[in-house]
């Protein structure tokens, strides 16, 4: 299915958010997620079914002021 991940178009086979993170290589990283601009806690990722055209944000700790 086609998704937008961190602003880029992606073709993904995973059907859940948890599966998508594994597919994209984020399995062992500290990241926070949002789908369609709403926060998705880590505990809800396995149950979150992705839909065609969803916008996914995968954010990591970064320098800030």
């Amino acid at each position: 299915m086609r998704l937008t991940v961190n602003g880029e178009a992606k073709e993904a086979s995973a059907s859940t958010l948890d599966g998508l993170l594994v597919e994209l290589g984020y399995a062992d990283t500290v990241v926070a997620t949002a789908v369609n601009e709403s926060f998705v806690p880590v505990t809800r990722r396995p149950a979150l079914e992705l839909s065609e055209g969803d916008t996914v944000e995968i954010l990591a700790p970064m320098q800030g002021g």
Binding site: N6, Y26, L59, M62, G64, G65
Partner: protein, 256 residues
């Protein structure tokens, strides 16, 4: 000072962005004596997983983190970013920024109050980046904020305190609220001035990160903030318009 029931020994809160290297950032944090550093969340791009390395570095420094919502332009964006930050960084603290203007990066105070209300109800401990406007400060306190962070000058400008009168008024109006001057500080003297006005702490980033020697500048800020605080506690004299001789006039030679 106390911020949300946490006793902080250092009155310098330091940003972690724009340093020449991670090692220099670590040196600057240590030299500053800061117990709180600000951090952010960004898209993890590329395969180098830069965010993971950064997070390891910060954890090794043993400091408390204050995540920000920098770059958010709406209350909705800021709330979602805060929720993500709480999960990743494991803290209820959030430096709430809702930016209202592209050029000055001044706060959108309407969005700020809206987001602060939502986040306080969700149990966040909000450090709002605001202006010196007293009405907005009242709204933020009503929303549940227990710290206020008025700007000194536009973010990254290094101009020092644009409105000392407004900041002094804010201090007088809210004597019991922890107040932090956030943004616009360029020199240690600017930070000292904020402390001399009675502010509880100063939050800065660019002035240290963009100095030729960030660790040395961090140390200079540490000293200036300690000096400014000591001066405030020592109750400074009142300024006056005309000269007044400090050496006694009585007993001068060559006088009738």
């Amino acid at each position: 000072m106390k911020a949300y029931d946490v006793e902080l020994g250092s009155r310098l809160l330091l940003g972690t962005a724009q340093y020449p290297s991670p090692a220099i950032l670590a040196d600057a944090v240590r030299a500053s004596g800061a117990e709180v550093v600000t951090v952010s969340l960004r898209r993890e791009s590329g395969r180098d997983r830069a965010g993971q390395g950064f997070w390891d570095l910060i954890r090794d420094l043993g400091v408390r983190v204050l995540p920000n919502t920098a770059g958010c332009h709406t209350a909705k964006e800021a709330v979602a970013t805060a929720q993500m930050a709480r999960e990743v960084f494991g803290t209820a603290w959030i430096k709430l920024e809702v930016i209202g203007d592209h050029d000055t990066l001044q706060p959108d105070v309407f969005g700020l109050v809206e987001a602060a209300g939502i986040l306080c109800r969700e149990g966040f401990e909000v450090f709002p980046y605001t202006t010196e406007d007293l009405g907005v400060a009242d709204r933020l306190l009503e929303a549940g904020c227990r710290v206020l962070m008025p700007w000194g000058a536009p973010i990254g400008s290094g101009r020092g305190l644009s409105n000392p009168y407004g900041l002094r008024t804010m201090r007088a109006r809210f004597p019991d609220v922890p107040l932090v001057v956030d943004a616009g500080i360029g020199l240690p003297s600017h930070a000292a001035q904020a402390m001399e006005l009675g502010y509880d702490a100063v939050l800065l980033n660019t002035a240290v990160a963009k100095a030729g020697d960030p660790a040395a500048m961090a140390r200079a800020f540490r000293q200036a903030i300690e000096a400014g605080r000591a001066a405030w506690l020592a109750d400074p004299m009142d300024a006056r318009d005309m000269a007044a001789p400090s050496t006694p006039v009585l007993g001068m030679a060559f006088r009738e």
